[in-house]
């Protein structure tokens, strides 16, 4: 696993070498979220805060004792999601989603959704095109 990881990072180094702009997320998620605090639970979407630089998915999580905790899950950036066809209507209040990620280091009930899936197991966000790639634009010509 470790060898594989090193190889992956080596590949990333090559990518960095040939890229026009900093190839980083808006921020280093490892700075904001704690690798020692994994979270894995189901929640019900309350609202999606559609803001730059990242959208926030606010969910209600039911605890085993019946109480409900509010959590906020950090997601992708609006412009890229838009280009993928992800809109305000794509994730409506009441939808059940599964969160597999890491909790914020500051101790608040916030997490990154390292993997987000619908409760029935379908992957979120994986758009598609004729080639199967999650392209946000069709090749060539004026976009409608």
């Amino acid at each position: 696993m470790r060898t594989q990881l090193a190889v992956v990072l080596g590949g990333l180094g090559l990518l960095l070498a040939g890229t026009a702009v900093p190839v980083s997320a808006h921020h280093a998620f490892a700075a904001e979220f704690d690798s020692n605090k994994p979270v894995n639970f189901k929640g019900t979407v309350q609202k999606v805060e559609w803001v730059n630089p990242h959208v926030w998915i606010h969910i209600a999580v039911k605890r085993p004792d019946g109480t409900v905790e509010p959590w906020a899950i950090e997601g992708g950036t609006p412009n890229v999601l838009f280009r993928r066809g992800f809109t305000r209507q794509s994730l409506t209040a009441g939808t059940e989603i599964m969160i597999d990620g890491y909790r914020s280091k500051d101790g608040t009930r916030r997490a990154n959704g390292r993997d987000l899936t619908f409760a029935d197991g379908r992957k979120m966000f994986l758009g598609g095109s004729g080639t199967g790639a999650p392209y946000e634009l069709r090749p060539g010509g004026e976009q409608k």
Binding site: V21, A30, P38, N52, V80, S104, K123, G132, E142
Partner: protein, 410 residues
């Protein structure tokens, strides 16, 4: 009452006539560049860059400027298959897995491959020219500082790529130092690397420009989130809005004037632009960048000569010659084509305002303080041994050097 009604109708007719005139004036007559009502080439509208081309040419293509159609189709097929696969994760509980943020395949843009083998058209090998000794020195100083702060982390302990050039060791006394140069971008590899981003969160300026919502650069070639431009002209000025990065868009005003640049002591984040028309081409000279501006290793001495040419109703060719004798041994040139977008269908504009929603910055600063307190109270590890920048873990949707790696850089 009737007089007012006639006045209103009269004004409406005049407005309608003007609109018709303007539309006629902008009509693209076959073979002619669209013109503004005041007689300048018309670059206005929403434009996007909807093909993917690497900035630098992969070595195996040598001096060849274009892919064959078969190569493009095959590479697109391979990329689509890889990106369409289920998510891959780093080891659970690792900083690299956290760094993956969320599904990288959707986080970055993945567009069909363009015809060109590199955005760089000059020099002929499609590569950024070598750094000058002065630039190499600056980069080495920054890299040494980055490595000093990374050395007690797992990145160096496990000898990951992020620690390239360094080695695992104890906490460095350099952790208390002021960085040797202004910190800008993340990443240590490649000609543009070494801009900073250190494994420390004492204040916002320890963190990258992106984390500070200041990542937008000029020139901008689209990057990993894609972008669009909105160009608006008036007599004497061309305005461009760049939707770029993660809500890090910005407005640029290019005066079309024979006036000289600002005095050299006046420095601006995106430089000082001066435009002029050469035939159908808008030529823009950009100087006066700041010592904190960072583009591929260049700071305040960056000099750009941009050429914006509307090739036809649907296309603008953008060519920029980039020079900085203190950074590169020779100038280099990039070329892109922008495609016209439907102005009406894309009228819903999202204002950037990265700063307003930048909860990540306060959260990571607070998070660092929480970890420091926990360490002081014997409840957690020394935060200096944890990686918060340059840890790796973001692979743009592509995997290792095997069959899941990016076929362009494999």
């Amino acid at each position: 009452m009737r007089t007012r009604l006639f006045t209103v109708i009269g004004v409406a007719l005049v407005i309608a006539a003007v609109v018709v005139f303007v539309r006629l004036a902008r009509t693209d007559v076959a073979g002619q560049t669209p013109q503004t009502p005041w007689g300048e080439p018309d670059l206005q509208g929403l434009w996007s860059y909807d093909l993917e081309v690497p900035l630098q040419r992969p070595a195996r293509y040598g001096n060849r400027e274009f892919f064959t159609e078969e190569e493009r189709a095959e590479l697109d097929k391979q990329r689509a298959e890889i990106l369409g696969k289920s998510d891959r994760r780093y080891e659970r509980g690792s900083e690299q897995d956290v760094g993956g943020a969320y599904n990288a395949a959707i986080f970055t843009t993945h567009k069909p491959l363009g015809r060109r083998t590199s955005l760089i058209v000059d020099p002929p090998d499609g590569k950024i020219p070598p750094l000058t000794p002065e630039a190499q020195q600056k980069r080495a100083e920054l890299r040494a500082f980055q490595l000093a702060l990374l050395q007690p982390t797992d990145v160096c302990k496990n000898n990951l790529q992020g620690c390239a050039g360094g080695k695992y060791g104890p906490l460095s006394p350099r952790r208390a130092e002021t960085p040797p140069h202004y910190l800008t971008v993340a990443g240590a590899g490649g000609p543009g690397g070494g801009g900073g981003a250190i494994n420390r969160s004492d204040n916002p300026e320890d963190r990258s420009l992106g984390e500070r919502c200041m990542a937008a650069v000029l020139p901008d070639f689209g990057g990993n989130t894609g972008f669009f431009l909105q160009i608006i002209q008036s007599p004497g000025a061309v305005s461009i809005f760049y939707d770029t990065g993660q809500g890090q868009g910005w407005q640029r005003v290019i005066p079309v004037t024979a006036n000289p640049h600002l005095p050299s002591h006046l420095r601006q984040w995106w430089g000082n632009s001066r435009g002029r028309w050469e035939g159908n081409t808008l030529v823009v000279d950009v100087t006066n960048f700041t010592p904190k501006t960072f583009f591929q290793g260049s700071y305040e001495n960056l000099h750009l000569v941009e050429r914006w040419t509307r090739l036809d109703a649907a296309t603008i060719e953008y060519a920029v010659t980039i020079e900085d004798p203190t950074t590169w041994t020779s100038p280099w040139t990039v070329k892109q084509e922008y495609n016209k977008q439907n102005d009406f269908a894309n009228r819903h504009y999202k204002e950037p305002r990265c700063h307003e929603g930048n909860y990540g910055m306060p959260a990571l600063l607070v998070g660092a303080r929480v970890e420091e307190r926990a360490f002081a109270e014997g409840r957690g590890p020394d935060p200096a041994t944890k990686c918060t920048a340059g840890c790796g873990g973001f692979a743009l949707g592509f995997g290792d050097t095997g069959e899941d790696s990016n076929p362009l850089t494999r």
